[in-house]
Each structure stands twice: as structure tokens, then as C-alpha cells.
């Protein structure tokens, strides 16, 4: 029996999206497709602008075989990070390389109309200031500082976002741009951004944001894990030993956030006679050599480490990344975390575990929002839909 292996254009593109150049023969071998079919599919992808001839073919004697590769500059996405009191947006290509950025002092509590108007205007400014047509824009990714129902892009009971509950964020932006809009919470996009920028080969990682609150984005088996209601990664309200008399803003006692987030550290430093209003002030004191601040940060590390130890036993990541404002305290925080983790977790789970501070830093979130958008644009389903929409040639 003659048995022909056949793949869709989107699935062929799946091979090309790793960025390496391929010859038609290699693509035919990898897919089982006939050369003529490969040629037609490549033609479609070139017309979509997603694939381009690649210039780097080395001659093997005679005419070198034509190479094709992902054309990462063909399309653009914008990644947006909305924080409690700031907003940031980055225009990137399909490699996630930043082409232009914008910042604003913007309060999420001012409500969706004001904030999303800034997003609409900023997206246009970023694209036009880069001398690219708006038609090159393929998708928008956006991170919000609260729980988000990812499938609909709507915030769900976000505590610090009055006016946003179940607001149709994609619908609002799509009045200005007829494009896919992907929405997620801030720690999830930070995890995606850190992975895309610095940990591409790591399939099991957790990014913990330590700032005014504490939360985590969890990637397991290469997939961002959101959980049944999208609340996975809520580290801040896990109970830690020895904190049972500390009241948390959630109404419970003994939560990690109540003893190890920025406000708690500032209070602990003040209680020992030094001057600090915020977690940022504590980081400054640590950098200035304050022993009080160092010891407070180290204890916060131990408390965070108790929860990281539990998380290591439950999820078994290979990398734990500490991000957010308090990551600025660097080794003092990490030392406390490691102390608890190596004491509490099983040897097999910690044998290859790395605990590090974020390298993407302030840009983790916009890079992650961009990654969310790129992931969508390059998905076999989206490529398939785009190829169907092409006019007949």
C-alpha cells in the first residue's frame, strides 16, 4: 500500500518556527510530504510573510540547496504590563526582540477606560514611531495585576482593580485593532518572559514575584499552569511556621505575604529603628550595608524558602526564579531561601535545583506579554487560519 504522510501548513510551519534554516529536502524527510507539496506550502508561508529564503546556505559543490527559515521581522506584537501604579509596553518582532518601549505612571485603580485608552494610543505610537505599518501588527499580549480568566481575557474579582471585575479587555482593545488579544496575570507573564529571554530550554520553572504581594507563575512540562480557576501559583497566602499571630490583609493569619512581602519587611526594619516605608526602601538599606535590613531580608528569605521547599516537593521544578522589587536584595534573600529549601526538601528533588534572581528584571513582564502574543501568532491553528484567508493565487 502506498501510504502518504501529509501535514497541514500550520504543522509544517511548526518545524520552521525554531528559527533554524531548512532545505526543502529536509522538510520532506521530516514530514513525509512530497517535494511538490512542500513547495506549495512554503509558497503559502512566504506569501504570509512568516517564512523567507535564508541567505546562509553553504555550498556543498554545485548550486547550494535553497534554505528557508522563520522570518522573525515580518510581523510585530506589542506586550503590555499593567502594574498597580505603572504601565509599560514593548513592541517586539517574532523573536521577542524589543524594537521600541513606552512607560507611564498610570494607576490600574483609575479603571479600564483610562488604562486601556493609554494602551490603544501607545500601541499606535510604538508601531508608527518604528516606521512600520499597523498592518504588520499581529497580536497584543497584556498582563494585569490580578486574577484573569485567560480564556476570555476578563479579570475575576481583582482586589486592587476597582471597575475591572469581568471587564472585557480584549473586546475593548479590538474596537481599535481587529487582532487577537491575549490577557493573563502579571506573575504568569513574568514566568513566560524570564523563560523566553533566559531559560528557553527549561521546561519546569517557577517564577516568584516578591513585591507588595507575593505570587508565582508556574511552568510544568513546558506549559504555563493556570489551574482549574486560573488561581494556580498563589504563594502569598500559604501558611508559614511561626507566623500564626500575624494578621494578613486577606483576613487570615500566618500567610507568607504577611511576613515576607515589602510592607512587612519595611515594618520589621522600622521596628528596629531604621527608616523604611516600602520594600524598595528596604532594598536600598541592604545595598547601603544596613545589618538590620540584611537580617530582616534574610529571615524573609527563610520564610519564603519554607514555601519554596513545599513547592519543590509538590511540583519538582528545575529552576526557581525570584523576581519583583525584593529580588533587588539579591544574595541576602537567596541565602535565606536556600537555607530553608535545602533543609526541608528531599535530596532527589533539590539535586539539580537552581534558585536564582530574575535576569529579565523589569522587562520580564513585557517580554512575557509579548511571548504570549507570539505563541499565539505562531501556533499551527493561527497559521492555518491565516493561510485559509489568503486570496487564491
Amino acid at each position: 500500500m502506498c501510504f502518504t504522510h501529509l501535514v497541514r501548513t500550520g504543522e509544517l510551519f511548526d518545524l520552521l518556527r525554531d528559527g533554524r534554516p531548512w532545505t526543502r529536502a529536509q522538510l520532506a524527510d521530516a514530514t513525509g510530504l512530497a517535494r511538490s507539496t512542500i513547495a506549495a506550502r512554503i509558497d503559502t508561508l512566504i506569501r504570509l510573510g512568516l517564512v523567507a529564503p535564508y541567505g546562509g546556505a553553504r555550498s556543498t559543490g554545485g548550486r547550494p540547496p535553497a534554505l528557508f527559515a522563520l522570518n522573525p521581522t515580518a510581523k510585530l506584537v506589542v506586550g503590555v504590563d499593567i502594574g498597580a501604579t505603572h504601565a509599560r509596553a514593548a513592541l517586539t518582532d517574532l523573536n521577542g526582540s524589543i524594537l521600541a518601549e513606552a512607560d507611564a505612571q498610570l494607576k490600574v485603580a483609575d479603571g479600564p477606560d483610562r488604562v486601556l485608552t493609554w494602551v490603544v494610543d501607545t500601541v499606535r505610537e510604538l508601531v508608527t514611531s518604528s516606521n512600520r505599518p499597523l498592518a504588520d501588527l499581529a497580536a497584543i499580549g497584556i498582563g494585569l495585576p490580578g486574577p484573569v480568566e485567560h480564556s476570555t481575557g476578563r479579570p475575576i474579582n481583582p482586589p486592587i482593580m476597582p471597575g475591572w471585575d469581568r471587564y472585557d479587555v480584549p473586546g475593548h482593545l479590538q474596537q481599535a485593532y481587529a487582532l487577537p488579544v491575549l490577557v493573563d496575570n502579571d506573575v504568569n507573564i513574568m514566568a513566560l518572559g524570564e523563560r523566553r529571554a533566559h531559560l528557553r530550554d527549561v521546561d519546569d520553572l517557577v517564577l516568584i514575584k516578591v513585591a507588595t504581594g507575593i505570587g508565582a507563575g508556574i511552568v510544568s512540562g513546558g506549559v504555563l499552569q493556570r489551574g482549574a480557576q486560573g488561581t494556580a501559583g498563589d504563594l502569598g497566602h500559604v501558611r508559614v511556621p511561626g507566623a500564626d499571630d500575624v494578621l494578613c490583609r486577606c483576613g487570615n493569619t500566618g500567610c507568607l505575604e504577611a511576613v515576607a512581602a515589602g510592607p512587612a519587611l519595611a515594618a520589621a526594619v522600622r521596628a528596629q529603628g531604621e527608616d523604611a516605608e516600602t520594600g524598595g526602601d528596604v532594598v536600598e538599606l541592604v545595598r547601603g550595608g544596613s545589618l538590620v535590613a540584611m537580617s530582616v531580608v534574610r529571615q524573609a528569605g527563610r520564610d519564603i524558602g519554607e514555601v519554596v521547599a513545599t513547592l519543590t516537593n509538590l511540583i519538582n521544578p528545575s529552576v526557581v526564579v525570584i523576581g519583583g522589587q525584593l529580588a533587588g536584595a539579591g544574595e541576602h534573600l537567596l541565602a535565606g531561601i536556600r537555607e530553608s529549601v535545602y533543609q526541608r526538601s528531599l535530596p532527589l528533588a533539590t539535586e539539580h535545583l537552581r534558585i536564582v534572581t530574575s535576569r529579565a528584571g523589569r522587562e520580564a513582564a513585557v517580554l512575557g506579554a509579548s511571548a504570549l502574543a507570539i505563541e499565539h501568532v505562531l501556533s499551527p491553528e493561527a497559521v492555518e487560519a491565516a493561510s485559509e484567508a489568503l486570496p487564491a493565487s
Copy 2:
């Protein structure tokens, strides 16, 4: 441009494996394949024995359209559960329906030679006693009571399995049967078995086994999560509040297992003057109405609940299933667990959370080992490989 959508045989089969009957026209609509291509693919799947004509087509006037569906009785798998002191095996079809079972009092500590000889013999007996040829056997799934490197099927430093460290379990069985052999740890296969038997639509669930030890199998986004080193789900050595003076067999103090597993409960019951050697004895006392045993079990539930609360915040499952020997204490254990979880977890994460005892019970493990094997047999890759190996027709 004429753009034909094309899929491989394995991917076509992916539509059929839900068990519902399909017409050729429905398959053509769902895949975009030409009717003639569908006919050829269906023919291949019928020759493989995986798909069969379906008899239930309702007439819509005139000749009813031919229907095709997964043929779940065509192939067999064996699911094996090796416990500390017992072994069980079940022969199932591709629906996971049990056709025959076998039990043995067998110590895993007797080593791989003795245990796997039993497996080899039992597999043959189960198939032949069911009057089926060994050629119908498609794969073997096996669960072991310790950490397993799933990709190679080798146990890694298993504490109660002398002689098994890095032993090539698939290699041993493949000397007798030239078939795929899938190996995993006991709690992972229990989670798969419970899901397959009773929670097929649940994508985010955790099964917690409470017996001589405590461990969990975690399914997130419909995928079993093993973690970077395969140690995910290690609940037993998470620290619980108020147990810092209790020494665990792992050498640490305050582990959940040291206060809430079978031996700890038996000791607590004895300390209050009742007679119990094992967790099983405690369950019997609870069933007999012992107030001492009930109160000990309820406290164990609260301790387990502390860790389930953390797990709920971190992973956000929609169902937590309690299995293993102590699940026999039923509502007394669940009440304690729920007490801690509803007190400690955030409302959004517990709004739809169900905490239940295992319905699959003793059969969860063999059903899960069978599910592991079925999952492999029905994977697009395995079907594709089998169709390539068919002789030309």
C-alpha cells in the same frame, strides 16, 4: 489557490478515539481531507484492528450512512500494580474494561527477578485464560512503590525496594514480550486510574494516597505532572504546623507523613489505650465506633488538610481524591481535611473544589497502569508507526 488540508492516519484516529461513531462525511468535515483520502485512512485503521464499522447508524431516509468507531475490544493491555507486600494485575481492553484479574502476596523487597517473573507469568495466564492470542496484547503498564524515571522505566533510589535501583524494568519484561512497557510510580497511576474510571472530564485533579506513607499524583491541564526529576507530588515530607518535635523516617522533623500516615495514627491510638498496629487497624476501630480512633483520624485529616490547602493555593485543582488504606475512614478523614482547606485556601480556589474519597479504591492502581498502556497504544505516534509497519495491500 487550492489548499488541501491533510492529516496523518494517527491524527485521524485521534478523532475516533473518543469512542463516538463518525461518518466519513463528518470525518471529512472535521479534517478537511478528501472523501477518497478518508476512505483509504479508515481502511488502514480497520486493517490495524483499531477501528470497526459501527452498527448503530440511524436511518435518515434511504440507506443510512456508514459509521465507524474505535474498536475497543481489538487489542488488550495488562495493568500491573506492585505494592510493598502485594501485587495485582488486570487484563483490560482499550476502554479500560477489566476482562480478568490476578492477585499475589509478593514482597517488592524480594527483588526485581522474583517480582518480574511473576509479572511475566501472570500476563501470559491472564491472556490465555481469556481465550485470546498473545498477539492481541499491545502494551504493558506497571506501577511501582517508589520513584521511577518514567522515560526509561527505571526506579531511582527507591527506599523500600532493595535491588531495584536503576533496574531496567522494561528490558526485563521485553525479553518475554516484544511490546511497549510503561512504568510509573504507584500514586501517579492511581491518579490516572481514578480519572479514567470516574473523572474523565476533570483536567485538574490530585489523588492523595494515605497509607504507610503519603504521596500524590497530580494531573494539571489534563496531563500527569511528573516534574523535572519525576519527584512531583511528594506530599509526605512537607512540614506541617505544630509537629516540629516529631521525627520522620526521612531524618527530618515535622513531616506530614510522621503525623498523619498509618503508623503514626496507630501509635496515637495506642497512646490512648486502644489496640492498633497498623493504619488498617485504625480504620477498623473507626468503623467499630471508637471515639479515640475517630478523633485521631480527624486530627490527621486536619494535618493533611494543611498541605492540601497549600496545594490548592499552588496548583488550583478542581478535585482532590483521597485514596489508600486510610481513605477507608471516609467522612472522619474528609471532615478534618475540609476543615483546614476551607480555613486556609482562598475563596476563588475553593469555590468549585471537591474533596472526595476514591471510588476506584483498590482497583485505581491497575486501572491507571492499564490507562498508561492504553494512552500509549492509542497515541497518534504509535498508530502512525503501526500503520507504516503494515504490509502493502
